[in-house]
């Protein structure tokens, strides 16, 4: 990184590289955080609605994972304009994919909530401990 190298005569280059690694991948760090947070909620909560919230967070991480590498700074929409064919543009495919994934996520959440409503009607509880310990599962 020439921009930095000029300013930092005598500074600890290794530390700067690490900083660049942390800041440069900030989208990925958020993705990883969302994945782990979502999974943790799913595993640790017994309330069925809270579990679905965790599931949604987990799915949301995927949106970021796809969309953020698809963005190029200064890139425009991929439309060919005469005379400016070599425009820098962002790949539209990740965004389109994620539109589909969002729909899938919404459908999953809706179905999950509908199931929880039915579970509540049938068991009178939405705590997993109570639902699964209720009756003989064998």
């Amino acid at each position: 990184m020439p921009l930095l190298a000029g300013d930092v005569e005598g500074m600890d280059m290794e530390g700067l590289n690490e900083l660049a690694f942390v800041l440069g991948g900030v989208n990925h760090w958020i993705t990883v955080f969302l994945i782990m947070a979502g999974l943790y909620i799913i595993v640790s909560r017994s309330n069925m609605i809270k579990k679905l919230v965790g599931l949604s967070i987990f799915q949301t991480s995927v949106y970021l994972l796809y969309v953020s590498p698809g963005k190029i700074i200064g890139g425009t929409a991929p439309i060919i304009i005469e005379g400016a064919e070599d425009q820098l543009y962002s790949n539209p495919l990740p965004h389109v994919l994620i539109l589909t994934a969002i729909v899938v996520g919404v459908a999953t959440l809706a179905l999950g909530l509908a199931l929880v409503v039915r579970v509540n009607e049938a068991y009178g509880s939405i705590e997993e401990d109570e639902v699964y310990s209720d009756g003989d599962w064998n």
Partner: protein, 494 residues
């Protein structure tokens, strides 16, 4: 030519008719529509498979006229053709079978919607198999899974709801893991077309991003497959779903995910990398063997016969994934043959149990005392199906175990062969328990008079039982196609 359009029709037709069924909602009309579509899909799949076998060329359909790799490609080669035939065949048969059991288990107003969901599920499963696009496979996977959760929740027992919820959570985690893996692979290759991805991954397969992507895909799909120890959703889902749904799911759903796993390991990541340079075969082998024993052991202690068969499915999935881990042509053939064979025999067994559930109202072992005397046709079929699970020569179970054992010997793993033999004894233990109760105990005093399940149910199940025996002698279809498909997996792709 019309056959060029078949790949699209086979998937699109169930989708369109599912929507139609959701509008019509009349039970008989929906059932007829579903049956016609499922049967047409079967004819279409079989025609495509015949065509591919004859000309040796995979069929490729450009969705919307966009050429791959930019457009979505529907691609039917020998392996996917084989799975297409399996899924559409089972779907048609279960529709014929399920008429009565759906009537007894599902509320009147919901039956039309049941058939809509069923077609949607079938469309998703066929789509996973037929698509040549990694993300498209995810979308189809979710179509099939969401409809599956709904179908399971339709079970009479309230535990079906809890089981469906459990499956929804785990299934979604699996699918999301898969799509994370695909996302990583897409970021480094810039393509979603499986063939193109395989080409571009070749030189960069040992980069961290590619390996992480591979790990996510394998773990995600293992959850969908219910590979031990990720199988926890399966026993409850199978046990409490309506009988027809269980027969359909047990025969197709996990098989399709296994197909996708094979595609990724062998075609996309490549034999040379995934098998030779990673721990994937070792890990899968250990898990498969544990699955075979843990699944069978758990099956022995089940009171609910459907749950017992479900645990047995966990074990049988272990046999199939064992073939993947053996990583030689014979083992992989055994694995592919067992996909078909297990679908046929487990489908038949679940169908017969569904008949018993319809007649006596429960599937608890203790309520089945003496059933063999009043429902001889059903229970005799159960015995033959049990023989097949056991791997008695002359049944399909023997054929697939034979190939697996030879495949293990080719690797010099004689102890795997010994374990395979030993595991058959466990099958004897749990299947024998049912047979003992059904034939050698008296009906309790004052029990309601029983007769055989409706003809349509028993006959369909028996067609499958007879297929178990026929395919045990004439292996030209299963083994023939499987051997050619293995060539596609091991040689053709790379």
């Amino acid at each position: 030519m019309l056959i060029d359009q078949f790949p699209a029709i086979v998937v699109a037709a169930p989708l369109v008719v599912a929507a139609l069924c959701a509008i019509i909602r009349r039970e008989t009309a929906c059932w007829l529509l579903a049956l016609v579509v499922a049967f047409l899909s079967f004819v279409g799949s079989a025609t495509m498979l015949g065509q591919i076998q004859e000309y040796g060329e995979p069929l490729s359909y450009k969705m919307g006229g966009w050429a791959p790799p930019a457009g979505i490609e529907l691609r039917v080669d020998l392996l996917s053709g084989y799975l297409l035939v399996l899924v559409s065949l089972i779907a048609s048969a279960v529709l014929i079978y399920g008429r009565h059991s759906v009537r007894s288990e599902i509320k009147k107003g919901l039956r039309g919607l049941y058939y809509a969901m069923y077609l949607l599920c079938m469309c998703g499963l066929l789509g996973i198999v037929i698509t040549g696009d990694a993300f498209n496979a995810f979308v189809f996977m979710e179509i099939s899974s969401l409809s599956m959760y709904t179908l399971i929740a339709l079970g009479k027992d309230r535990r079906a709801l809890a089981a469906s919820y459990q499956y929804l959570i785990m299934g979604t985690i699996g699918a999301t893991m898969y799509v994370i893996g695909v996302g990583l692979l897409f970021t480094i290759t810039g393509t979603l077309n499986l063939v193109d991805m395989a080409d571009r991954l070749g030189p960069i397969m040992d980069t961290p991003a590619a390996i992480a992507g591979m790990a996510f895909v394998v773990v995600g799909l293992s959850l969908k497959i219910a590979l031990f120890p990720l199988h926890l959703w399966l026993p409850n889902a199978y046990a409490f779903a309506p009988s027809a749904v269980t027969a359909f799911l047990a025969a197709t759903a996990t098989k399709v995910s296994i197909y996708l796993l094979m595609r990724f390991i062998y075609s996309v990541f490549g034999f040379g990398f995934a098998i030779e340079q990673t721990l994937i075969p070792e890990v899968i082998m250990v898990l498969s063997l544990v699955a075979i024993f843990a699944g069978s052991f758990s099956a022995i202690f089940q009171e609910n016969v459907k749950r017992m068969l479900a645990y047995s499915s966990v074990a049988q999935i272990g046999y199939i994934t064992l073939g993947i881990a053996l990583a030689n042509a014979t083992g992989l053939t055994g694995s592919l043959v067992h996909i078909f064979n297990h679908a046929v025999m487990k489908g038949a067994l679940f169908m017969l149990v569904g008949g018993i559930a319809l007649q006596i109202g429960t599937v608890r072992l203790s309520d089945m005392a003496g059933v063999g005397k009043v429902m001889p046709l059903t229970m005799f079929g159960f015995v033959l199906g049990g023989f097949s699970m056991l791997g008695v020569p002359g049944t399909v179970g023997f054929v697939s175990k034979w190939y697996l054992a030879i495949g293990a010997l080719e690797n010099g793993w004689w102890w795997v062969v010994a374990l395979l033999m030993l595991s058959s004894l466990l099958v004897l233990a749990y299947m024998g328990r049912v047979i003992e109760v059904a034939f050698f105990r008296e009906r309790p005093e004052g029990a309601a008079a029983l007769k055989e399940a409706p003809k349509s149910m028993v006959m369909t199940a028996w067609v499958f039982i007879l297929a178990c025996i026929y395919l045990g002698f004439d292996t030209s279809f299963t083994v023939g196609v499987a051997e050619q498909a293995v060539d596609v997996l091991m040689g053709g792709a790379q």
